[in-house]
Symmetry: C2
Subunit: 406 residues, 2 copies
């Protein structure tokens, strides 16, 4: 309508189409499409061809995209499943997060980086991408196995741990050194929020359901879910966490009712529209000029460390389950994704990390995301083979499914 709108629409159209074209190319190369969307931002963005210079409005739309990304992940997560394997998964998550954070922090310090910057990069290294892991396990058709559920629940837990770590790092970095009381409060708030939402979120939704049916508003359940997604995002920022964590818990609270109200495909539609802007702008922030030979070597070192520590930290708590399960869980937990990128982005926006560290995190995300899928395909081969011809193996799936939920 006005010139501003024309320019905005043209930019949205350009970003959307190119992100999807790169995503399609990556899918055809059997690589995650999300990396293609990021690459589109790198190639077309201000630091390379300068074909698209995203405006502040597009960055805002991208951040709303991040909210819906995590809201959808929450909607797809069954809180009961999360609780059923929660103790073992929590150990796997904590093991992976602790080891990775300590090792990452040590490597950055050894490389001569400041404490705050080292803490940010280390925090970016901890969170497994629940989205990418779920996608790979779904493609392999092994989503119902116990180890898959342990991995998925652990990936969700360490998203939460990653966010809690981010909250801690931010509050420490902006405050005058480490204030233990403040730190304790941040951890208590985050843990309290998480426990409350996992246990009481779904019950609250169940309780307001009769009221919803009396509402005149067209499609009241979706409207309520969207309102709560925005509301909890605001609450999360108010208690010092990232907005996306609130959005994730909002999704989790509605997960049980998603089939009844047909929420997931519709949240996914909002996601389909908004998330390309998130990944594209993510790539567009990457300064290519920082990639000296030294940075590439450091990036490889960090990626290697991110893989080894995650495999050790996540595998070891499962030592009773046999080495194959340990290996599958370790590799399954390796991909980093949205949360890593968001932590790096927050650091960049707060001027807490340099363009060099931002580049390291993007490189680490790309490498840890590209390698595990083919390895998982090999590790799950016998399980898939056992499944396909006979009907017997199917009962194992059934059993593990019901055993987990009951």
């Amino acid at each position: 309508m006005t010139n501003g709108t024309e320019g905005l629409l043209l930019q949205l159209f350009t970003i959307f189409v190119w992100a999807k074209v790169f995503g399609e190319l990556f899918e055809r190369l059997h690589l995650p499409s999300v990396l293609g969307e990021i690459l589109a931002g790198i190639v077309l963005g201000p630091y390379a061809t300068q074909f698209v210079i995203p405006t502040p409005t597009v960055f805002s739309i991208a951040e709303i995209g991040a909210i819906f990304l995590l809201f959808t992940v929450g909607l797809e997560t069954n809180p009961k499943d999360l609780i059923s394997v929660s103790r073992l998964s929590m150990r796997v998550a904590v093991g992976g997060v602790a080891l990775t954070f300590i090792a990452g922090f040590w490597l950055m310090r050894a490389d001569g980086q400041p404490v705050n910057e080292s803490a940010f990069v280390a925090a970016a290294m901890v969170a497994t991408s629940a989205g990418i892991t779920a996608r790979v396990l779904r493609d392999l058709n092994v989503l119902k196995f116990r180890v898959s559920r342990i991995v998925l629940a652990a990936a969700v837990f360490d998203d939460m741990l990653g966010m809690i770590l981010l909250g801690i790092v931010v509050s420490v970095a902006t405050g005058a050194g480490i204030r233990w009381l403040h730190l304790g409060l941040v951890i208590a708030e985050a843990a309290g929020f998480a426990v409350f939402m996992i246990y009481y979120g779904p019950r609250l939704v169940r309780r307001i359901r009769p009221g919803l049916q009396r509402m005149q508003t067209h499609d009241a359940p979706l409207v309520l879910a969207l309102a709560i997604c925005l509301g909890l995002s605001v609450v999360a920022t108010k208690i010092g966490m990232a907005a996306i964590i609130g959005a994730f818990f909002a999704g989790l609270a509605f997960a049980d009712f998603s089939p009844e109200w047909n929420l997931e495909p519709r949240a996914q539609a909002i996601n389909q529209f908004l998330s390309p802007f998130f990944f594209f702008t993510m790539g567009s922030r990457l300064q290519l000029s920082v990639f000296s030979r030294e940075v590439v070597v450091m990036g490889l070192a960090i990626s290697l460390l991110a893989i080894i520590t995650k495999m050790l930290g996540c595998g070891l708590p499962l030592f009773r389950e046999g080495w194959m399960t340990m290996l599958r869980a370790g590799v399954g937990m390796t991909p980093r994704g949205e949360v890593a990128l968001i932590v790096a982005l927050v650091g960049l926006q707060m001027n807490m990390i340099s363009q060099r560290s931002y580049a390291l995190v993007i490189m680490m995300t790309a490498i840890t995301t590209i390698l595990p899928p083919p390895v998982l395909r090999i590790l799950f081969r016998e399980k898939v083979a056992a499944l396909s011809p006979s009907g017997e193996a199917g009962s194992e799936v059934e059993e593990s499914l019901h055993g987990g939920i009951g």
Copy 2:
């Protein structure tokens, strides 16, 4: 994440919730919820309680909301139905538009307003709200009757005529007087675009369907529809039309495939999220201080004129169908809505109309939207009564449905 995001999320949450609360209240009073959402913007906006002062980013999101609103209307419109009753509907649409525009222009000139401003307000008066009309007819369960299809098709046509008029008014207002060659080009482009999209849009989509099925991208049809929605919005602005007209035709091109690809409920979800921002910001632009007694009287006069001219202009072309059909069509075509508001908004943004004229258009929209639904309920009473008890009347519905499509 950053402070900017926190503020944005808080504002989005506040607007979304209040728009929906006012909408719910209006629904319970049997008034269109869209008027409630506009009222929320008036009451909470900068010219009244100043509870919410929308930022430029929110205004941009609101304009994307307008795009998806018309995209969804297009998706819900069957191009074949549009063609089947097209000649009669086109006459109804042209009659209503021409009479309303001339009378509106005359009244504003008689009131001593400048030519450009008079043309803008008159252009805002012409377009029937396809959305509100469809909603009322659906609620009455008479959507399948021939008169309903004539009314709906005419409402869609006069959305298009309204947009063409807007293009003309804008190009005349910004140019040096009326340039006939330029005017002819604008009309030819608009008509060509409309005819091309109605006849060839669906065929083009059908032709690329096999290619879509080979695509690796998750949910390729939705992705393509979204890309084309954004793309045609840009094209529309490039040829001097409003972006929403491009979005409408994009929806129309995909309407035939909407059931197969489950597009409509998912476009509707994006719409559910974005449209409250559009209607709220619309209300937030209304300066309450302009409502002197003189302006209220003028608003009532314009509303009365808008009702009479629409009933005459739309009813007369149907003189062969009997007075009841004329009356139903005339009342059915009365509600103004999104397009009227958008025309007024463009005028306001271009500094072509005053706050007073903006207020007149909002008042006219409210009055023409509130009055027809109860009147239609009375006019359709016998038809609905004939339908409900026996099974016979159902065949009339079936017949009119298939007769229209065949």
